[in-house]
Amino acid sequence: MEELRFSFDGLASSDRGVYAIVGVVASGDLEVLVERQALEGRCEVDVRTSVHGFETTWRAVMERFVTARALANTRITVNDSGATPAVVSLRLSQASQTLDGTCP
């Protein structure tokens, strides 16, 4: 198990959504939890992954995901069981869509 932590600044903010959870911790898949929190404008990402040595890849995936979205003051928690970046990106998009759909 490897734990990674990323923090992003300067994102647009939104008051839509409280939290959303998608995916499952199954082989090749992951669980993503997105919550609105007072984080002084930051987006904090915590990743727990079963696969070691892919910090650069995770950072790139997360960076592309958050910069396209209004995710200031948001905590993203990921429990990964060997998902490919394709699956990670898809689950993140699903979580973000679900978050936008939930009432504040």
Binding site: G28, V51, P85, A86, V87, L90
Partner: protein, 552 residues
């Protein structure tokens, strides 16, 4: 130079007569008892003979292969094996024991690692690795077998053979051997009074043995819809909307992976909603893959010619003679050579691979394995001799000439690679340099073993988008178009973002949103069948899946 009056012109016929005479001691007419086969082979074979042990994708002359591995290497040695598939341990045992020495083949699949070891030990001398069409072409040129061991479903007392639905390579093997005065030995599952249909006439067959066990058949084309992922569905949506609909692809060949299975299962749902029935995927060169059942039942696919059959599909195929090629007995008649030929001249090939480099060359060769090519290169290449036209072929040709040479207009075959940017165990699909380059010296090859050459590829589809290489004007654009769909691989991260955006503006790269595909719509609900049981239901109970695919 004078005509040599002493020259003998019938040495092959004389050799055949002598072999038959020696073999007759172990046969009653054409029939041989299973226990006498090893002696028969020792009598009939001569050192240095070229032999073919019929080993196809499905049907294997496994009993004869096992008998050949038991002959006395003092008597039978230095055989030159010329056969498409090295699939069974016995195929390599004969090299280990010194019975065989030289090998020309197409595909080694599960034996790839052991084959590599035997080459390293000097026990196998590889002539070349071929595609199926190349190898069978050479059967009629410089690699004609002296003795062929083939497999069939049944034989009558005269030796007429019925192959069953897996005719596969038998006609090519027998034709080359029998008509150049070679010896054909067949193993059959049963002896009958009358065969259901004659696939091989008796006067092309010299010996027949009823094997103690039915020949081995491998269900290699069955893909369980339960294992299809959302990413594969997303890519399938992109292929249907961004390529099949765009070019109006009616004639095509599908690879056999889960990616193309996803396309097949989206035809009755997603493609139907787009109004594409009758406009795409009407004629296919492909085995009767169970995942095609919903597309056939819903009227999408109108005609299929198959290289071989697939276990469990027999009754379904027999009940759909308007779709498949079947004999007067009702069962499928497959033929690998003709299927390869049909696919070669169709409008599109789509398949998957393990590695793609930045010029689009792809290979399934990985370190320490020698697996070969099979059929993909003949399907997955531009058919340069094509002269008849179709809308898809002409459109691709126009795109190709818009980016380059101009001059004489011609069409172009669509060759599509459909891959996720990362494969199993997070192996990147996109690489700066193919592993094939390391295999070349390791196995003493003249060239790196490339499956599909980059200049034959027209489109690369990943979860990130479609790269249309026809619209790239030079090697640099081509490289950036490929990097531009390589996702988060090192190759993808090293892209020139400005050039990639320029290529996207020109349509040389298209993102899902550029063609109206929303990744969030890519759910398993879109699959026409989500399990093997669903496929059985679609078939009206005619599809009878092998036990290992049944979980109910």
């Amino acid at each position: 130079m004078k005509r040599d009056v002493e020259m003998q012109w019938n040495r092959l016929a004389a050799s055949k007569a002598a072999r038959l005479e020696r073999g007759s001691e172990f046969a009653h007419g054409r029939l041989v008892e299973p226990g006498a086969v090893v002696q028969l082979l020792e009598a009939v074979l001569e050192p240095g003979d070229r032999v073919c042990i019929e080993g196809n994708n499905q049907k294997h002359a496994d009993f004869l292969a096992a008998c050949l591995a038991k002959v006395d290497p003092q008597r039978v040695h230095d055989l030159h094996v010329v056969q498409s598939n090295i699939a069974l341990p016995q195929h390599l045992d004969i090299f280990d024991k010194g019975i065989a020495r030289d090998l020309d083949f197409s595909y080694s699949g599960p034996q790839g690692v052991r084959l590599a070891n035997l080459v390293a030990e000097g026990k196998v001398r590889i002539g070349a690795i071929h595609t199926y069409l190349e190898l069978y072409g050479r059967y009629f040129c410089d690699l004609t077998p002296r003795v062929s061991f083939i497999a069939a479903q049944s034989a009558d007392r005269d030796g007429n053979l019925y192959t069953g639905p897996n005719t596969e390579d038998t006609p090519a093997v027998v034709e080359a051997t029998a008509f150049k005065n070679g010896i054909v030995i067949a193993q059959v599952n049963e002896l009958v009074d009358r065969v259901p249909r004659v696939d091989v006439p008796c006067d092309w067959v010299n010996f027949v043995v009823r094997a103690p066990r039915p020949h081995y058949i491998e269900p290699i084309f069955t893909r369980d819809p339960a294992a299809i992922t959302e990413i594969q569905i997303l890519m399938a949506m992109m292929v249907i909307k961004g390529i099949y609909a765009e070019y109006g692809v009616t004639r095509l060949n599908h690879g056999i992976g889960f990616d193309t299975a996803a396309i097949e299962l989206l035809l009755p749902t997603y493609a139907e909603k787009l109004g594409l029935r009758g406009k795409i995927c009407t004629h296919m060169s492909v085995n009767p893959c169970p995942t095609l059942i919903p597309a056939i039942e819903s009227g999408f696919v109108q005609s299929i010619h198959s290289a071989g059959s697939e276990l469990g599909m027999e009754e379904y195929v027999a009940a759909r003679p308007d779709i498949f090629f079947t004999g007067p007995d009702g069962s499928l008649r497959s033929n690998r050579v003709f299927c390869q030929l049909a696919g070669h001249y169709s409008d599109l090939f789509i398949g998957s691979t393990l590695q793609i480099d930045l010029q689009g060359n792809s290979s399934t060769a990985t370190r320490n394995r020698m697996t070969g090519f099979g059929g993909a290169p003949n399907f997955g290449c531009d058919s340069r001799a094509r002269r008849h036209t179709s809308d898809a072929w002409l459109k691709a040709g126009r795109e190709a000439s818009s980016s380059g040479s101009g001059g004489m207009p011609r069409g172009r075959k669509l060759v599509v690679q459909m891959v996720e940017t990362f494969g199993e165990k997070m192996q990147p699909t996109f690489v700066e340099r193919l592993d094939a380059w390391e295999l070349m010296p390791q196995f003493d090859m003249a060239l790196p073993p490339v499956m599909v050459y980059g200049d034959d590829v027209t489109h690369i589809v990943t979860e990130e988008g479609i790269a249309n290489l026809l619209l790239c004007r030079n090697a640099e654009e081509r490289e950036q178009a490929i990097r531009g769909v390589s996702g988060f691989t090192a190759a993808g991260l090293a892209r020139d973002a400005r050039m990639v955006e320029a290529l996207r503006a020109r349509g040389a790269i298209r993102r899902p949103e550029d063609i109206g595909v929303n990744p969030l719509d890519a759910t398993r609900d879109l699959l026409a069948a989500r399990s093997i049981k669903d496929l059985v239901r679609w078939s009206g109970g005619l599809y009878d899946p092998p036990k290992r695919f049944r979980n109910w």
